[in-house]
């Protein structure tokens, strides 16, 4: 197979996943959230239990007027949704789905790359917040910046712990080195990574930057139509990315019965299980106040992550 064809197949596969998986998660969220609240959720679009609800939503968003506020910084305002969405696409490129070469782009420094690109999300929040020319947007954006900068630290520390345990920064390498007993050994890091990841994608209960009951819609207030849809899509791709990273780093990725043939299935099952947990958290927990948010990060997550690093180093040296 010529190189360009292989490249094309890999990129197309990632783009298809990038477009389909968030829709699946979004539909699951509609239905799971509804049933957790004793409702039925969408029932009409697509005739069978509203399976096409998100398609209908997409059509609706395309039809809406694309408004740029007069006081907005037009260029930055229009660029922000792309900046929010694009890093996640790059991250999906580096996430291994199964053993062997079932990864779009195996990178030796995959973990480093993924964490670095994940941090670009802060930029999108700040860009949209500043460029909107709206006080609610600005407040939301500043909250978002404080939150994202804070939670970046435990996220990276937890990821560093597992990288130290595996002795590699390559994502397939980490999955390769993973052993079931790591579930226990790296459990605190896994929890910290997951929680910090939730905060990183600004999902409830960490949706203080959006906080629709006090800030209208935070940094999304001025967005309409397709640009708003891009932000929403970014949120759902974010769920996939955080679930996938947690799966790959802490839950052993493709490990499971018949890993050689069904590895990709195991990865997907774990990703969807974690996505379900993310949705579940949204339904079960109220939003954290800003001070609670920072307290959780600096007084709990960061110290525990540091302790986990020490534990990992100690076990690694003892072995």
């Amino acid at each position: 197979m010529p190189v360009w064809l292989e490249l094309l197949i890999r990129v197309v596969a990632v783009v298809v996943g990038f477009l389909v998986l968030p829709l699946l998660v979004g539909q699951t969220e509609h239905k799971v959230m509804a049933h957790m609240q004793g409702r039925l959720g969408p029932m009409y679009a697509g005739a069978y239990h509203g399976w096409a609800q998100l398609v209908a939503d997409g059509v609706k968003f395309v039809q809406k007027e694309d408004i740029t506020p007069r006081d907005a910084d037009r260029g930055v305002f229009r660029l922000a949704p792309i900046v929010a969405l694009f890093p996640y696409l790059l991250i999906l490129l580096a996430i291994p789905l199964g053993p062997g070469s079932l990864v779009a782009q195996p990178l030796d420094i995959g973990l480093f790359f993924v964490l670095a690109v994940l941090g670009v999300g802060v930029l999108a929040v700040l860009m949209s917040a500043w460029a909107s020319g709206n006080k609610y947007s600005l407040l939301g954006g500043l909250r978002g910046a404080a939150q994202l900068l804070g939670y970046e630290l435990p996220l990276v520390l937890a990821a560093a712990s597992v990288a130290m345990a595996a002795g590699t920064l390559s994502l397939p390498g980490i999955v390769e080195a993973w052993k079931p007993w790591w579930l226990l050994w790296q459990a605190p890091a896994a929890v910290i990574f997951f929680v910090a990841g939730l905060a990183e994608i600004r999902r409830p209960p960490f949706d203080m930057p959006i906080a629709d009951s006090e800030l209208v819609f935070g940094y999304l207030t001025e967005y309409t139509g397709l640009r708003f849809a891009f932000f929403l899509l970014a949120e759902y791709v974010g769920i996939i990315v955080i679930a996938a990273l947690t799966t790959v780093l802490f839950l052993g990725g493709w490990h499971g019965p018949f890993a050689a043939q069904l590895g990709w299935l195991w990865t997907l099952v774990k990703i969807f299980a974690l996505s379900f947990v993310i949705i579940w958290f949204r339904v079960a927990y109220p939003r954290l106040r800003e001070d609670q948010l920072q307290r959780l990060c600096w007084l709990i997550l960061v110290p525990v992550a540091l302790a986990q690093l020490i534990l990992t180093a100690a076990v690694k040296l003892a072995m």
Binding site: A34, H35, G38, L40, F281, A284, Q292, R295, I300
Partner: protein, 228 residues
Amino acid sequence: MSDDGERGTPGKGLVQGLAVTLKTMTKRSTTRQYPDVEPELPPRSRGVIALLEENCTVCMLCARECPDWCIYIDSHKEEVIVPGAARARQRNVLDRFDIDFALCMYCGICIEVCPFDALHWTPEFEYAETDVLDLLHDKNRLGEWMRTVPPPPAHDVLGEPSKEEASASRKAAGPGAAKQARANVRRPPSTTAERPPRTEQKPGEPAAGSPQTPQGIGSADTPPEPEK
């Protein structure tokens, strides 16, 4: 965290929150899919008022009792020549009988007060209109609702015998036997007291000699008629 206060184990509330949502998810949803699935209305639902025109004598009781004056009645008198009678009788003929459901508050007083059972409740409720004037139902429209009147609830086996039965048996027994006939209609022979013999009879058992009907919707909902 620091403000845990009296709530014992840390994290207990978090787990409980997750448990509540998960439990709710596994239960059946309570949503009624109304336009697709007809709702199950309770018995004696008050949807709309139906008019049985033949029963109406234009006595105007309903219109006068109506608290918000939403019943409009017009009529004229007609002579009816009865063969063999000394002179012609007069009869009221209904020209107009309108109920304005934009005003009606569904109190049901008109139905209660009608001496000839010309008005009935029906459970139909889908008669919303885009123009408020269309909520004035004329006598034809009110008559059409008669098709939807549910049958009267079954008689309570433990209650008094119905007035029709009691008076029919009284007539059949002839004058002077009224009291005994009344007692014999549905009562076990042992009872001569005025009150239903609740104490001698276990609530589950039907009265001896009475037709056994299942304790369905009608019988459960009809209170026993009080003794006069």
